[in-house]
């Protein structure tokens, strides 16, 4: 019988064949790691929306493991860095921090920033013979993140890209102590960097999200500690950058592979662009798994799970469940009924979904227009990230067309 194992050969290039086999043969099963994994759209959605489940507490996990992870004499940052990550908070604490972050994001008028991002990015590429589409997929959302946090020009592209990626990996499974140590160093850098910004933040400073959080916090009777605010800022940076970058990298690859798709985009109406954006977000499914823990004995899909059972929910499989999405592996530009779970569902559903949708919808046409000057050489395959919870391309080089 098939057992879920993300180290099945070929998984990183295409996880969908393996998870489809799991969904068909054993849709609720114990994976290689001896924990429950759920593959069907109906059941995944049911768990996400159920009040009988809580989220894991990542920061508590790090608190317990940190002494074993970081070398003696090294300051641990993992638990502190993740302490106010919204997706790992429950109950009143979750509501409180989520509302705070929501208010902070609403201070910003994203529209003009989103509109500038594409041209700003491609201005750097006008004369380059080759371009890595992952750089494009990173630089466009990075422009938004830098404006959102007021950090434009304050640290290098490479530093932010590495930081965001490593910090995102702190949530993955099958991560060794060695990698956690690298992540610890990234958090160390971030605490120094953002602490300085936090000190300087005030009414005259452009770090809008940071200034808002600081001022709002001062006015509050039970303010968050400075380190809790910094943890929240790190989360917003990572959540906004990694998922959008991974979505775009897959999207750009699809556009480079399929000329018809590019032509369709260039002539599409606004409504058609919106429908296609949703479909591309389903296909990319950058967050492939999430975890929930039963707060009481529950029954899901005919299985009984005792209290405290941990369930791995395969969003990637749910998004390609043929019971909900006919011809699930195909990009159907006009797929009208599209209840994908790429943004999750229920109380923890993505706080940035509105922003992310606006980004993808606004960028699809201009990016495609720019990419018309490039082609994907025959036999060129992307190098995929070796991550399990997050899926995206690590690098894929496209080549400038010979000038006429």
């Amino acid at each position: 019988m098939i057992q879920w194992n993300p180290y099945t050969p070929g998984y990183f290039e295409n996880p969908y064949a393996h998870v489809a086999q799991c969904r068909t043969e054993l849709p609720i099963q114990k994976g290689i790691h001896k924990e429950w994994v759920i593959f069907g759209h109906k059941e995944v959605k049911e768990v996400l929306r159920s009040a009988s489940f809580r989220v894991l507490n990542l920061s508590d996990y790090f608190k317990e493991k940190e002494p074993l992870i970081v070398a003696p004499g090294t300051c641990p940052f993992l638990a502190m860095g993740t302490q106010t990550w919204i997706m790992y908070l429950n109950g009143g604490e979750h509501t409180c921090v989520r509302n705070l972050a929501d208010m902070a994001l609403r201070q910003i008028d994203f529209k003009p920033i989103i509109a500038e991002a594409v041209d700003h990015c491609f201005a750097q590429y006008s004369n380059k013979a080759t371009v890595d589409i992952v750089d494009i997929a990173t630089q466009i959302p990075l422009y938004i993140v830098e404006k959102m946090l007021g950090i434009s020009g304050l640290c290098s592209y490479e530093q932010l890209k590495r930081f965001s990626h490593l910090v995102a990996i702190s949530q993955d499974i099958f991560v060794s102590k060695h990698t956690y140590r690298d992540i610890n160093e990234e958090f160390r850098w971030a605490f120094t960097f953002f602490e300085q910004l936090y000190q300087q933040a005030g009414e005259q400073n452009p770090q809008r999200v940071i200034s808002f959080l600081k001022q709002f916090n001062h006015a509050h009777t039970e303010p968050l500690e400075k380190n809790e605010i910094i943890s929240l800022i790190i989360l917003l940076l990572m959540a906004a950058l990694e998922t959008t970058k991974d979505t775009m990298s897959v999207m750009l690859y699809e556009i480079m592979k399929d000329k018809q798709l590019g032509d369709y985009i260039l002539s599409a109406t606004d409504t058609e662009i919106n429908v296609l954006s949703e479909e591309l977000i389903r296909i990319a499914s950058p967050l492939q798994y999430t975890v929930r823990v039963a707060d009481e004995d529950v029954e899901i899909g005919g299985h009984h799970f005792p209290r405290n059972t941990k369930l791995f929910l395969c969003l990637a499989s749910a998004n390609r469940d043929p019971d909900v999405f006919p011809d699930p592996d195909a990009i159907q530009a006009k797929r009208n009924y599209n209840p994908h779970l790429s943004f999750g569902s229920g109380v923890h559903s993505c706080l940035g979904a509105r922003i992310a949708r606006n980004e993808i919808r606004s960028w699809l046409k201009p990016v495609t227009k720019h990419l018309q000057h490039y082609h994907l050489p025959a036999d060129t395959k992307p190098v995929w990230q070796k991550t399990i919870f997050m899926r995206g391309i690590k690098s894929l080089t496209v080549v400038h067309n010979p000038s006429a």
Partner: protein, 78 residues
């Protein structure tokens, strides 16, 4: 490295991670017996990969769940 060398390396690593004496580590029982957590198993597979200079999946310890089975599997790697 031959099988015996791999076994004694594993005994040393597991004893260290599980916080027990190497003499207490039996080679024919499941890793669960030593209450090794997943972080330790993943970390030992990473060390094993470096030691042998061969690609070892982090799930190796779940697939071959005792020292004897693991040492056999390592032998069979190309």
């Amino acid at each position: 490295m031959n099988k015996e060398e791999i076994k004694s390396w594993l005994i040393k690593m597991i004893a260290e991670e599980a916080g027990v004496q190497p003499e207490a580590v039996q080679t024919d029982v499941s890793f669960e017996t030593f209450q090794l957590d997943s972080l330790s198993m993943i970390t030992i597979s990473y060390e094993l990969e470096k030691l042998l200079d061969k690609e070892i999946d982090p799930t190796f310890f779940w697939q071959h769940d005792s020292i004897d089975k693991l040492a056999d599997a390592v032998q069979q790697l190309a």
